[in-house]
Symmetry: C2
Subunit: 324 residues, 2 copies
């Protein structure tokens, strides 16, 4: 945890009580001028911090709060966020959302956790999920679609995340097929959609979204498969988590309603504008096989189209893609 | 419950103790000659019933027992039936299997219930599930496939059920696309496959199988969507449930191993030999749409191919098919 995060934590622990700069500096073992500097930076990020000359500091409002009551204030959508379920810490928001959906949880229910003890990435990989800095969320949908179509919803999440990064952070997010979001070529967000279905009907889909917002360089483990980053590292500016989350859910809502009305085509079209590998040679690893080819965009289901050396057009449904 | 079923229930309640023919006739309110007749019929079905001149009757062995220890006796397979989980009564074997799989239950685990209080058919329909006469079972599989391929496994269950009906009951079961088994044009078994998956990986599939074996005409509710029957009604002979279940699981095991090695093609080929609508005009209802066309078999994923009036070939992935 960085000094700034530790200061926020201290404020939160004190609640309505004040804490002096001297006490903060003593508890954290940093100089008083370092404390002042961080408090200034927090104010720039939208934290409202009251200062009493004699009593010290008190946190009035935090743009980082993801508590349901704070998210719901001034928030209106058709479907997404009808209900918010919040966990200080949980294994995985996808696991919780899956349970809620199995027990009949409504479409549009959003699960949020400050911290995941076993955050999941695709194909059983982990998603590093420290507390207080990022957004880990899972949304329950019940679209009237066949299971074959469910993987299309990954593109919907990807477009929503890229739009929110653009709107809130003024940064140009790009997409990596099938389910990562990149800033400057490094992974800033990952998507994990899970479904429960029978052969002719999807019971529900859980859109899992993990976005590194204010995570700092030292918080990443050294052994990640793919270079990872956060919005704050790339833009040099902290992200107001609440604003980001509300913006994301609004875009998800708008895109989902569009999807129900018009299908996946407009979403794939927008996704392709965020995709840099069209026309590039790539290799794709999946399980124990590898193929190479030139990217020719997506087909109507979101499969990656690869032109192989022998001229055949291959539909790729899964795998890790790397430019070569 | 029929008189025969009531007699079996009485025997089971008494366990090792004898019960006289007179007592049975008094409890059930039927004549002693009716009791003798039913005991003769039970013996023909493979029930071993010991008769003591002075003490009465005692059940030694029941071909109807689906208890794990009885199923496992003399039973060997590679995957299916590694573990049996038995319920006297449960909501739905699919629901139980789904829970077991979510908690990490092994591939090949078989859930069996004597009775389902909320038996499920496809698309949220119910499956009538009285106790003691039929087979209600769900099998957990963890195939290394993409979610798009999971609906193929319905054909695997269908072929296994048809083979078991042929082997144990000497009857010619036919299939109704996508997931029913027919005897003489009436539904004798239904399949409900459910999956849990992410976009690039199936976590598990539950093969749900309900087969009407010894159910009698009076046990069917009057308001079924589709004419239903049981093997015993159609063949006039009771079915040894244990033998049937073991035969079914052996075929499932053999077909699943074949599927993992060679894909779905050989299974679809066998399925088509059990399918009567090739070349026939049909209509297909799905949600709020209806299409008509001539059946031209299955495509490589198991979709029903329909030649429409305008000459186009339509791939049908879901719906209720009726010949016209």
């Amino acid at each position: 945890m960085t000094t700034q995060q530790q200061i926020v934590r201290l404020f939160q622990e004190r609640g309505d009580e004040c804490i002096s700069g001297e006490e903060i500096s003593r508890i954290l073992g940093v100089t008083r001028s370092a404390v002042w500097k961080q408090i200034g930076l927090l104010r720039e990020r939208g934290f409202r911090i009251e200062a009493h000359p004699s009593k010290g500091y008190r946190l009035i409002d935090s743009p980082d709060s993801l508590l349901p009551a704070d998210l719901q204030a001034g928030f209106e959508t058709a479907v997404i966020g009808r209900e918010f379920v919040y966990f200080e810490k949980t294994e995985s928001t996808n696991t919780r959302a899956h349970e809620i959906a199995t027990q009949g949880g409504a479409e549009g229910t959003v699960v949020i956790a400050e911290c995941q003890s076993a955050g999941k990435g695709r194909l059983g990989r982990r998603w590093v999920s420290p507390p207080g800095v990022n957004l880990y969320t899972s949304v329950i949908l019940r679209p009237p679609i066949l299971p074959q179509a469910a993987p299309q919803l990954t593109f919907l999440s990807a477009v929503a995340v890229a739009r929110a990064v653009r709107d809130v952070c003024s940064a140009d997010a790009r997409v990596k097929w099938p389910n990562d979001i990149l800033l400057n070529g490094r992974k800033v967000a990952g998507l994990l959609n899970e479904m429960s279905a029978e052969s002719e009907k999807v019971h529900f889909v859980v859109l899992g979204i993990g976005i590194n917002l204010n995570m700092e360089r030292e918080q990443f483990p050294p052994d990640l498969r793919y270079p990872a980053t956060s919005v704050a590292i790339e833009t040099g500016e902290g992200v107001r988590r609440r604003l980001f989350a509300q913006t994301l859910f609004r875009h998800l809502d708008q895109l989902y309603n569009r999807y129900l009305a018009d299908g996946v085509a407009p979403i794939l079209k927008e996704w392709e504008t965020l995709f840099d590998l069209n026309g590039r040679m790539v290799e794709v690893d999946f399980q124990h096989s590898r193929i190479e080819g030139r990217v020719e965009g997506l087909d109507e289901d979101g499969a990656l189209l690869l032109r192989l050396a022998n001229g055949a057009l291959e539909r790729v449904l899964a795998g890790d893609v790397r430019p070569i």
